[in-house]
Every structure is written in structure tokens, then in C-alpha cells.
Amino acid sequence: MSYLSYVVAAYAVFVAVLAWDYLAPRLQVRALLRAARARRARSAPRAASGELQR
């Protein structure tokens, strides 16, 4: 009986989970830094509106 497919499947699962574990927080960090940059760009002073207009 060949066990090859079982062994390959087990190691593949192992690699897949580790890959997720590596990538997920990296993507989070990237997104957070991007958001911080966007916020900094946005926080330029705004013109205060005086009289109500619509």
C-alpha cells in the first residue's frame, strides 16, 4: 500500500497553514501603514464653513 499521497497531503497542509500564518499579519501591517499614510494626507487643515448654504 502506498502512503505517498497521505504524506504529501499532510506536508502540504502544514505548508499551507504556515504560509497563511506568515502572510496574514504582513498584509495587515501593510494595510495599516497605508491607512496611516492616507490619514496623514487627509488631515490637512480644513476650511471652516461660516454661513449655512445648501
Partner: protein, 249 residues
């Protein structure tokens, strides 16, 4: 001040921790990948086939270290959480919560590789056996901690509530560990031991411990990386984050 204490104190400052984690986690990942590569190569190609289980026992080298880590990470999470609850140290809250997804990952690996191994050995993917069941419950606990942490919006309160749950959940660890001893079980009994004589073939011992060390490094590396992400999220309004984002753009 004691230099170790001072270093620990410094580590508690968010910007310092960020740079610390950013510096060290790549090295730890590199070490982990190297160790895991060597261990897997030895386990897959160097060690001779088992006389009983044939080649299927090569799953052993991922299954058992991952199972051991799934328990250890939970213990670490509870320890960090206890420190965080008692002394209100923010870094420990972050570290405790960073443990949860990593530990859940190892638990998934344990469950899936175990199932895959079970098919040829026991003739079934799954059985409601004490060890398997308790390990599944461990996964649910990990998910519960993650969900609870996500469900409360004040990050500190969320960490304290989820950490509390982790501490309550520690009761499960000895039950998983000794389930094979207390109940009669389909699953293998204790075979590996750190100090005494292990009951496995000597040729398997070295790759096993290499894999174990590799996974340990992986855990530390991933812990730092996840803690860094959480740290950044908590501090996202701060100046240093804005500076950092500008610098890395």
C-alpha cells in the same frame, strides 16, 4: 536599574517594540524555515521506513511537534494574559492576543495531519475519541478567544476579556495531555519524552527535535509579527505611526 528589567521596560514602549519586532521577526522566520527544511528533509528522505507503519509514519514529524505547540502556545497565551490582568501591562495583552491565531494554526495542523494519518492507520478520518475530541475543543477555545477579542471595541477591555477566557480555558490542557492515559483511547500513548528514554527508534529522535525547534522559532517569529500588527492598529492615530508610514512609503 537591572539591565534586563530596563530592556523589558523599554520594550513596553510601542515605537520601540515596533522596531524591535520588525528587526527580529525576519531572522526568526529565516531560522525557522531553515530548521524546518532540514527536519523535513531528514524525516522524509533520510530516516528509514517504519517496520509497522511503512512510510505513513513520516507524518509523525509534523503531527507531533505541531500538537505539542498547540498546547504550549495556549499555555503561553494564558500566562501572558494573567500577567496582563494582574499588572495591566499593555505589551502582555498584545502578546497574549497575538498567540491565539498562531496557536489556532498549529491546532488546525494537528487535527488535519492527524486525520490524514488516521485514514491509513485506523481506517477512519475521525473518531469521537477523548484525545481527538478535546483537541477539537481546544480549536473552539482558540476561536472563542479570537472572536471575543474581535467583538469588543475598546482594545484593552477586549484583551482583558479574551485573556480571562484563555485563563479559564487552561483547565483543558492537562485533560488533552493525559486523555490517552485516563481513558482508553484509539490514539497513541506517550512515546516521546524530553528527559527520559523515548520509546521511538533512535534515528527518528534527531529530526523530531529539529522540527520541534523549527516550529518553536516559527511561533516566536509569527508572534512578533502579529503583535506588531496589533500594536500598529492600536497606535494608528499616533505620530510615530504616521512617520513610519511615510518612511516606508
Amino acid at each position: 536599574m537591572n539591565p534586563v528589567l530596563r530592556w523589558f521596560h523599554q520594550l513596553g514602549s510601542p515605537p520601540y517594540f515596533d522596531s524591535f519586532a520588525a528587526r527580529w521577526s525576519p531572522w526568526l522566520f529565516a531560522a525557522a524555515i531553515a530548521l524546518l527544511g532540514i527536519g523535513a528533509w531528514q524525516g522524509l528522505f533520510v530516516v528509514p521506513a517504519d517496520y509497522q507503519q511503512g512510510d505513513s509514519f513520516r507524518i509523525f514529524f509534523v503531527h507531533v511537534p505541531a500538537a505539542m505547540l498547540s498546547l504550549m502556545v495556549f499555555a503561553a497565551m494564558a500566562a501572558y494574559a494573567a500577567i496582563a490582568l494582574v499588572w495591566r501591562i499593555k505589551l502582555c495583552e498584545i502578546l497574549a492576543m497575538a498567540c491565539a491565531p498562531v496557536g489556532a494554526g498549529f491546532t488546525v495542523i494537528t487535527l488535519v495531519t492527524g486525520s490524514i494519518w488516521g485514514k491509513p492507520m485506523w481506517g477512519t478520518w475521525w473518531d469521537w475519541d477523548p484525545r481527538l475530541t478535546t483537541e477539537l475543543i481546544l480549536l473552539f477555545l482558540y476561536l472563542g478567544v479570537i472572536a471575543l477579542y474581535g467583538a469588543i471595541d475598546d482594545r484593552r477591555n477586549a484583551a482583558r476579556a479574551a485573556g480571562f477566557l484563555a485563563i479559564v480555558g487552561v483547565v483543558l490542557l492537562p485533560i488533552i495531555k493525559y486523555s490517552v492515559v485516563w481513558w482508553n483511547s484509539l490514539h497513541q500513548g506517550q512515546t516521546i519524552s524530553l528527559l527520559g528514554e523515548s520509546k521511538i527508534d533512535p534515528s527518528m529522535v534527531a529530526p523530531f527535535w529539529i522540527m520541534y525547534a523549527g516550529m518553536l522559532c516559527w511561533f516566536l517569529a509569527s508572534l512578533l509579527q502579529r503583535a506588531r500588527a496589533d500594536n500598529l492598529r492600536r497606535e494608528s492615530g499616533k505620530d510615530w505611526v504616521a512617520k513610519l508610514s511615510g518612511g516606508e512609503a
